[in-house]
């Protein structure tokens, strides 16, 4: 059973275009370690939005190249999925001092997808790559309370990429 690598919007934005050294470094890392980044569906939708103010993100290119894939919908029939979702929403709500209902479900979906894969035995551990510290910290705070403390790692998207580029990878 291998680890699951869940990636948020910010990681792909930080990588830039295929001609960018950051993009190439992450692609090399993925290929060397036989990693496929999994995008929650909502993340894929964010990345492929038709917004004239922003440059297109080459997300489909990486999917075609085989090192990214879009996750199946969350299985809310699993109670752990709803609990992880609620827990992270509450975590972010308290960090930002606003009602939990106002918190975007996509922020919590990263942790919910992680919980689902560990709980159902489809992954031994999960890495969550995000540039939203609140979402990453939320996952690392909530999942231990469900008994998955050592299984989840919040990887800071910028520090990860900067490490790859600085190391000449």
């Amino acid at each position: 059973m291998s680890p699951l690598h869940i990636a948020d919007t910010g990681l792909f934005v930080a990588m830039g275009q295929p001609s960018n050294s950051r993009y190439q470094a992450v692609r090399r890392f993925a290929r060397r370690n036989d990693i496929t980044f999994v995008l929650p569906k909502r993340v894929y939708e964010e990345l492929t939005v038709d917004d004239p103010d922003v440059e297109d993100i080459p997300v489909d290119t990486a999917i075609d190249e085989g090192w990214r894939t879009v996750a199946a919908p969350l299985e809310f029939s699993e109670p752990i999925v709803s609990r992880a979702m609620d827990g992270v929403q509450q975590y972010i709500a308290s960090a930002d001092d606003r009602p939990a209902d106002d918190i975007e479900r996509a922020d919590a979906a990263l942790a919910a997808l992680a919980a689902q894969h560990i709980h159902t035995g489809r992954a031994s551990s999960v890495y969550i790559y995000t540039t939203d510290i609140a979402a990453g910290d939320g996952a690392e705070t909530v999942l231990p309370s469900e008994g998955y403390g050592d299984s989840v790692t919040f990887v800071h998207g910028f520090r990860f990429i900067e490490g790859l580029v600085a190391g000449g990878n």
Binding site: R31, V49, D132, V155, H156, R159, F160, E162
Partner: protein, 198 residues
């Protein structure tokens, strides 16, 4: 823009014009940021570090001095210059928003010439909008808010929010103390094969 500040009336108009000028001319904003970063510098330093011709460098420095945002700290040659503190709150033309002009905001505006995302954002949302985005960028790095909450609040796409937050991250790094969060590459428990072996 109109201004709301509580300093002596005689300074009001001059402050407003000078700071507004800084925000409208990225090169002046860059120069102000350079002095703020260095603490003290000469015109020669400016020429060397910002790659400006002598005439241009003197002209820009004099404009900042005339505007009252930079002052001479040593009269003997070569003169040295430093920034004056700016603390100015402005209200947008529509009167619906207020924001404070800070060295971080001036730094951000100065980057529009070299950062297409900042440039586009100012075109769409004005300097007032950029000031708001900078507030979110600080909150995001402190783990208080996410790009999706910013997008919801400001009615922009999450992708547009993420883009400007990333563009402003170096400004946040430079002007605010942020604790490190999450794991970097070194802290990941992945037995990465080195590039040499790949």
């Amino acid at each position: 823009m109109s201004r709301t500040s509580n300093r002596a009336d005689g300074d009001l108009v001059r402050d407003f014009l000078s700071v507004a000028g800084l925000l409208e001319e990225p090169r002046l904003a860059q120069l102000y940021t350079y002095f703020a970063r260095e603490g003290e510098a000469t015109v020669q330093n400016v020429m060397d570090n910002l790659d400006l011709a002598q005439g241009t460098a003197y002209s820009y420095v004099n404009r900042l001095v005339d505007a009252g945002v930079v002052e001479v700290t040593r009269e003997s040659q070569p003169q040295r210059y430093t920034t004056c503190e700016i603390d100015l709150t402005v209200t947008t033309v529509a009167g619906d928003r207020e924001y404070t002009i800070t060295p971080a905001l001036i730094d951000a505006v100065g980057r529009r010439e070299t950062n297409a995302d900042i440039d586009t954002y100012i075109d769409r949302h004005g300097v007032a909008g950029l000031a708001t985005a900078l507030t979110y960028a600080v909150g995001r790095e402190r783990g208080e808010v996410t790009h999706r909450l910013m997008a919801d609040d400001l009615d922009i796409s999450p992708l547009a929010a993420e883009m400007i937050l990333q563009a402003l991250r170096p400004v946040v790094d430079e002007h605010y103390d942020i604790d490190e969060s999450g794991a970097g590459l070194d802290e990941m428990d992945i037995d990465d094969i080195s590039a040499d072996d790949a």
